[in-house]
């Protein structure tokens, strides 16, 4: 029961980091820019959420599988294969969870007072300073909520993960895949134990994270 736990944590944390960077960046960009098709792009960024994870997983393997355009390039250029690896699980979870942090970040950035960013600029701040020292801290509560959701989703993701990473015990079998398998195998006691474990771990981590965030306030 411990090996899937570490794997799950590793996958969920890395996926949160990956989706977090991408989603916060996208949210920032979409909050500031307006262009034709802006609203459509915004809605399209939610699609990984709208499609059943298994379907997302399916299209992901079409893309990054050995036959896929991206997969072939990754393999020939760097010798990286994503199918049946925990890195693949990270990718799947990150893609599925991306809409969560993106939407939260965009709303949070739009709610920050632009006049504070302007004040920072008159004080000589470059754009990256404005971002890291003003906009990001001011949007922290909304972004924190988005990251909590992202992490939770990454912990619970199994549809797309199962497709890309497979269900290889000890190697790519995350806790949620294990719970799923246990339920499927009719092993109720194991399913319950795993459910309690995953719930406890998640609550503990989220509580710690919220403490840390509060301390910064």
């Amino acid at each position: 029961m411990l090996s899937p736990l570490w794997l799950t944590l590793k996958v969920a944390l890395l996926a949160t980091a990956l989706a977090g960077m991408l989603g916060i960046g996208l949210g920032w960009w979409m909050a500031r820019r307006r262009f034709a098709g802006h609203a459509v792009l915004d809605a399209a960024l939610l699609l990984p959420m709208v499609l059943p994870p298994t379907v997302v997983g399916y299209y992901l393997i079409v893309l990054v599988g050995r036959q896929g355009p991206l997969g072939r390039w990754l393999e020939s250029s760097f010798g990286i294969t994503l199918l049946f690896t925990w890195q693949g699980a990270v990718l799947a979870s990150a893609v599925v969870a991306l809409p969560l942090i993106y939407k939260a970040a965009r709303a949070a950035f739009e709610d920050t007072d632009i006049r504070l960013a302007q004040a920072a600029r008159t004080l000589g701040a470059r754009e990256w300073e404005v971002f890291f020292r003003i906009s990001l801290p001011l949007a922290l509560r909304g972004i924190g909520a988005g990251l909590a959701l992202t992490f939770a989703r990454a912990m619970g993701e199994f549809g797309a993960t199962l497709m890309i990473a497979g269900n290889l015990p000890g190697r790519t079998q995350t806790l949620s895949v294990a719970v799923y398998s246990a339920v499927q195998a009719g092993d109720d006691p194991l399913a319950l134990r795993l459910t309690l474990l995953i719930s406890a771990v998640c609550i503990v981590l989220l509580v710690i994270a919220s403490r840390l965030l509060q301390a910064r306030h």
């Binding site: 298994t54 399916y58 393997i61 079409v62 599988g65 050995r66 036959q67 896929g68 997969g71 294969t81 199918l83 049946f84 199962l162 497709m163 497979g166 269900n167 290889l168 015990p169 000890g170 190697r171 398998s181 339920v183 499927q184 195998a185 009719g186």
Partner: protein, 228 residues
């Protein structure tokens, strides 16, 4: 030396035991299983998943794998049979004895696997059609995402009857009762094969041989499967 065996979800419990026995019999060799619905397994292999052995719950999925050129020639073999059975909640006093009984109003809801994606559902629809009951039963169906879901519905007394494999019924023998076995037009046989791309062909073949050996078959029978 490690091989990856992609096997249908319904083999989960049985293959885990087989795998342990195989590793004991062949020290230094390791089997890692990848359990999922047969369709998902096929999609993975088509995209180049590094699988050595594929065990499907039905022939059509394996046929597609062969057609896609994934399977090493001559390695395909049927290794177990399963049986379609009709089960009812254990508490029921009235038990149907033939398919036609399901027409009775007492059977309001009947669970089966989703025909499009769950093999057991395909078999079910086949026999129902053959018995000329398709229209009569049509409004009664509740489709599950997997055979386990069908089993669960029956075990919880949410439906009046359900079609599952014998191997599944065994898992919940306290809460369910097998009414009768349903003969299928084509037998429910599971094919196993080595992947053409396998880099561990020897181990893969050894595993397939073990599954088909007397020892392997004994384990599988313990989980309710019968010989091919």
């Amino acid at each position: 030396q490690e091989i990856i065996v992609s096997a249908a979800a319904s083999l989960t419990n049985a293959f885990q035991s087989v795998g342990k026995a195989f590793e004991q019999a062949h020290p230094g060799r390791k089997v890692t299983f990848n359990f999922a619905a047969s369709g998902a397994l096929l999609a993975q292999m088509q995209q180049g998943a590094p699988v050595d052995v594929f065990a499907s719950a039905d022939q059509p999925t394996m046929d597609k794998a062969v057609a896609a050129g994934l399977i090493a020639e001559g390695s395909r073999a049927d290794f177990v049979r399963n049986e379609l059975v009709l089960i009812v909640p254990a508490a029921r006093t009235q038990v149907p004895v033939r398919l036609k009984d399901l027409e009775a109003p007492a059977y309001r809801r009947i669970a089966a696997g989703t025909p499009a994606s769950v093999p057991v559902g395909r078999y079910t629809m086949g026999v129902v059609e053959q018995a000329g009951l398709a229209t009569a039963l049509q409004p009664k169906w509740i489709f599950g995402e997997s055979v386990r879901q069908v089993l669960d519905y029956v075990a919880r007394d949410e439906v009046d009857a359900g079609f599952v494999y014998r191997t599944d019924a065994i898992v919940r023998k306290e809460q369910t009762r097998v009414a009768f076995a349903v003969p299928t037009p084509s037998p429910v046989s599971y094919p196993i094969a080595q992947l053409a791309a396998s880099r561990q062909a020897a181990t893969a073949r050894a595993f397939i041989a073990f599954v088909r050996s007397a020892e392997g078959q004994k384990i599988l029978q313990g989980f309710g499967f019968s010989q091919p």
